[in-house]
Amino acid sequence: MKKQNEKIFTILALIVLGILVYLAESNLDPYKLRILNLGAIYVTLGVSLNLIYGFTGQFSLGHAGFMAIGAYVTSLLVLPAYYKEMIFILEPLVWPFTVMHTPFIIALLLSGLFAAIAALLIGLPVLRLKGDYLGIATLGFAEIIRIIANNIPQITNGALGIKGIPEFTNLWWTAGVAIVTIYIIKGLIHSSYGRALMAIRENEIAAEVIGVNLTYHKVMSFTISAFFAGVAGGLFACLLTTIDPKAFMFVMTFNILIVVVLGGLGSITGTVLAAFLFNFSLEYLRPIEAGFNIGPIIIPAIPGLRMVSFSALLLIVILYKQNGLMGGIEFSWKGLARFIRKIFPNKKSSEGSSI
C-alpha cells in the first residue's frame, strides 16, 4: 500500500465519518447523542492520557484536575451575562470574569491553554518523581484543584457549581475535537519527538544518555496531554450544561485510566474503541438494576447491580486481555488490508494489488 493511497483512504474515512455524524445529529434522540458525545469526549481524554502514560510512561493521575480547569474556563467564558448574575448567589462573581465572553471555540482553546499552564507549573517539579510516586503526586494535585474550586465561590460558585451553560457541545464538536486530538497526538508520536518520548518510557537512563532532555520532553508531553484534557473539560461542561467540583473527583481519572488500559496502553485505536465501549456498557447495563423477568422468575430492582456487573465485566476483561483490547496494536490501512486478505484468501491477488 502506497502512502498516497493511505491518504486517500483516510480522507474517504473522514468523509464517511462526517456523513455518519450528520445522520446521527439529525436522526438520533438526545439520549443516544449524549452517550455518543460522552464517548467522543472520552476518546479525547483517553488519547491524551495515553500520550503521557502509554507513550511517555509517566504515570499521571491528574486528568480530572485538568478537566476541571478546562470546564470552569469554558463555562465562565460562554455563560451569558444575566446567568452569571443569577447563579452566583453566595458571593458575586469577581471581575474580570463578569465581563469576559468569548465564542465557544476560543473558550475551548483557552481551556486547553489554562490546563496546559497548570500542567507546566505542576509538571516541572513533580515529573522528577517516578512510577507510583508520580501517580499519587499528580492525583494529589488534581484533588487540590478540586478542593480549591470548592473554596473559591467568587469564581467557581463553590459547591453550587455553574448552571445554565449553553449547550454548545454536539457531535460535530466532540468528534471534531477527538479527531484533531488523534491527529496531533499521532503526529507527535510519529515524529522524532515521539521517539524521544517512547525512549523515556522504555529506559530513562538510556534515553538521557542518547541526549534526550528528560525534563523538557516529559513536561512537553504532560502539558500537551493536559491541554487536550482541558479542551475535553470544556466540551464536557457544555454537554452537561452544569458543572461543580464533585464531577471532577479522582474517580473521573480512574474512568479515563480504565479506558486507556482496556484499549491497550500505547494504542490509540484501542483507546477509541474502549472509550465508546466504556460509555455504552455503562448505559446498556442500566436495565440490569431496573428489575426484569426471566420466564416466571421475577427479579426485583436492585440498585447498585449495574455497577457491580460493570466492575465484574471490567475485571473479566482485564484478566483475559491483560494487554488490553488492542494489545498495543494500532489500526492502519495496511493492517486492514492484511486482515481482509486473511479472511478472503481467495481474493488475495486482486485485492492485494488494488489496495
Binding site: I184, G187, S192, R195, E202, N203, I205, A207, I210
Partner: protein, 257 residues
C-alpha cells in the same frame, strides 16, 4: 589540547568511596582501555563522565569545558556517547527507531513542524532515516530494520547499542564491556569493528573490558583500577608485567593466555 581531562575526581556513596582520586587525560584519537576486577569502580567512572553521577570532589573537563554535574543529555550534546554493561536498548521500539533516536539531539525542526509534518521536518526526518540506515548497514543489521530491538540476538543488540551511540555524533565514545557474552569469533569481529569505527568517525574511545584479548589487542594505553583507585597505567606490555596489577588482578581470575 586534551579532549577529556578527568581531574582527580572522587565519588563517595555514603561512607563508601567508590572511586578515589581518579585522574585521566585523553588526547583526541586515542583508544584507551580501563580494566580492573569487578567492583573496581570502572563503571562509576563512566557514570561520572556521562553525568549520571556527579563526583563528590573535583571536576571533569571536556575540551576545556567544565562538564561536572551537567545532565547526561547535555553531555551527549557536547559529544560524549556511551554504551552500557547491561545493554540498555529501547526494547519495544524497532531497530531503526533505536538508531534514529540517536539523531534527536541534533534535530533542528521545532515541535510544531514535527507534529504537523512541515516540509522542513519531513526532509530532516528523511535524512535521519537515510543516515540511520547507513549506520545499520555498517553492522549488517539493515534487514532487521523493523524488528523489535529486544527480539534481536545478544550480539546484534551490542552492535545496535554502539551504532545508536554513534548516531549522536560523539567525539568521545565510552564502551562498557562491549565483548561481554560474545564468543571468540564475535569478539574478534568486534575488535576490528571498534578499530574501524574509530577511523571512520575520527573517534576517541575509552573502553572498559574484561576480555584481555580485546584490551591488549587494540589499546595503546591501559589504566588498571582496583578498589576505586588507579593502580597502574601504561602500554599493554608494561601492564602485563606490572607486579601490582598481577597481584591485584591478573593473578586472581583471569587467564588470557
Amino acid at each position: 589540547m586534551e579532549l577529556l581531562n578527568v581531574d582527580n575526581i572522587t565519588m563517595k556513596f555514603g561512607g563508601l568511596t567508590a572511586v578515589g582520586n581518579f585522574k585521566l587525560k585523553i588526547v583526541p584519537g586515542e583508544l584507551i582501555g580501563l580494566i580492573g576486577p569487578n567492583g573496581a569502580g570502572k563503571t562509576t567512572v563512566f557514570n561520572m563522565i556521562t553525568g549520571i553521577y556527579t563526583p563528590t570532589i573535583n571536576k571533569i573537563y571536556f575540551q576545556d569545558r567544565d562538564i561536572t554535574g551537567i545532565k547526561p543529555d547535555k553531555i551527549a550534546k557536547v559529544g560524549i556517547a556511551r554504551t552500557f554493561q547491561n545493554i540498555r536498548l529501547l526494547e519495544n521500539l524497532t531497530v531503526i527507531d533505536n538508531v534514529m533516536i540517536g539523531f534527536h539531539l541534533h534535530l533542528k525542526s521545532n515541535l510544531a513542524s514535527a507534529i504537523l509534518k512541515f516540509p522542513n521536518y519531513v526532509r530532516e526526518e528523511e535524512s535521519i532515516y537515510r543516515k540511520s540506515m547507513e549506520l545499520l548497514e555498517k553492522v549488517e543489521l539493515e534487514k532487521y530494520e523493523l524488528e523489535k530491538a529486544g527480539s534481536l540476538p545478544y550480539g546484534h543488540q551490542r552492535k545496535l547499542e554502539i551504532i545508536r551511540a554513534l548516531a549522536t555524533g560523539p567525539k568521545l565514545l565510552l564502551l562498557d564491556e562491549p565483548a561481554a557474552g560474545m564468543n571468540p569469533q564475535e569478539t574478534k569481529d568486534l575488535m576490528s569493528f571498534i578499530q574501524k569505527i574509530q577511523n571512520d568517525f575520527e573517534l576517541t574511545i575509552l573502553l572498559i573490558e574484561h576480555d584481555m584479548k580485546v584490551v591488549m589487542g587494540i589499546c595503546r594505553r591501559i589504566l588498571v583500577m582496583d578498589y576505586g583507585i588507579t593502580i597502574a597505567e601504561g602500554n599493554p606490555a608494561e601492564i602485563q608485567n606490572n607486579p601490582e596489577v598481577i597481584k591485584a588482578y591478573l593473578g586472581v581470575d583471569v587467564n588470557y593466555a
